[in-house]
Symmetry: C2
Subunit: 221 residues, 2 copies
């Protein structure tokens, strides 16, 4: 099928640029997270809490990906964090961040002021999983309101990530969400997947997530 | 940019096939809904409730779109409904349903037994909005757990839909979701957008939604 051939070419070109990004990150000793989820799973809220907690210990930078608006970047800027916004609307309404978009915005960040770079991807459980951007780790958020069947329905996302954050656990009493079933389904797809339960709202589980980030950051220390 | 050119060509080809589908639906007097949302907003649960309520009045058929699994089609089959599953995994992991996929599965449905065809799209607020499939109406679901900023972040989806279902309103007391702000943002993008608040779980608002469907179905009666 021609569409698949086009996709293969796009992904090959993406890999080449991802490797170039990786070289830059290695040289600058920056640990990089590609943070992915469906719409409204709580990426930006988690980022705010994370920056607030870790900013005196780790120099954090953020690349915000969105189709439209710079609302998320504005939210992050309040913490005096190095941040840049990618709007995919101007480049065809892309539903994901790719390596070239990252390459293009890196000059807008002062990389000497960043030890940990968090890339907040477009809210989408499908295509972002296909595009490496030169990151160290891929992290996904699933909120309990989305249902425990999601690993089966979006297998690639669960397959490519190293860490799954199960967010909004404060809403567990009000949702038909079977945590054991979710874990079983996720680990069947990716037996190496780490799982941390959190509530970005109440703060539950965030210490474990922060420690996970600190361990990653220590790689270059 | 070459990627945008490719996209334009794909969308043009899609329009041609969507028009062919439309001709078939007109000929068979079938009203068609393209139902879209992010992952886990409650499309299938709503469909189950809708079929249960309307199946003695309207002959309903369903096309289930998913990347992987036939879990949703199995859920719908329990109601003895005409249903067919599209798995986009086998066609490049597409993050949306396009007109050609619909065209290809129509022969698997007994169209003489269908008056209202509901197409459940892949859970994604981005790309499904770009692909017409020959439908009468585009309907989107946003759950209150996803946040009231979504119209600004996914404007095309709100722009192309005729009806917005705000789902999971039973969770409103536990979410930071400003209903007025959501409506204001959604109507700014699409002043013609109809809005119905529902809880597929508790049944609140479903009568209004069912009546909306009945009105659409009456077109051919």
């Amino acid at each position: 099928m021609p569409e698949i051939k086009v996709l293969t070419k796009i992904l090959e070109a993406n890999e080449t640029i991802a490797r170039e990004n990786r070289k830059i990150f290695n040289k600058k000793k920056i640990s990089v997270i590609n943070l992915m989820s469906g719409p409204g799973a709580g990426k930006t809220t988690l980022l705010e809490k994370t920056i607030k907690e870790l900013k005196d210990k780790i120099k954090i930078g953020v690349i915000e990906g969105d189709i439209s608006t710079s609302m998320d970047a504005e939210r992050i800027k309040r913490f005096n964090t190095e941040v840049v916004q990618i709007n995919t609307e101007s480049i065809g309404g892309e539903c994901h961040i790719d390596a070239n978009m990252i390459k293009n915005v890196l000059p807008q960040l002062n990389l000497d002021k960043i030890e940990l770079l968090i890339i907040e991807n477009v809210g989408n459980l499908v295509c972002p999983a296909e595009f490496n951007v030169g990151e160290d780790k891929k992290v996904m958020i699933l909120s309990v309101t989305e249902g425990d069947d999601k690993p089966l329905k979006y297998p690639l996302m669960f397959h490519v990530c190293q860490l799954l954050l199960i967010n909004k656990i404060d809403l567990l009493p009000f949702c038909d969400f079977d945590l054991d079933n979710l874990k079983k389904n996720a680990l069947r797809i990716n037996p190496q997947l780490e799982i941390i339960k959190i509530s970005a709202k109440t703060g539950e589980g965030l210490e474990q997530w922060n420690n996970w980030l600190i361990n990653l950051w220590k790689k270059y220390k």
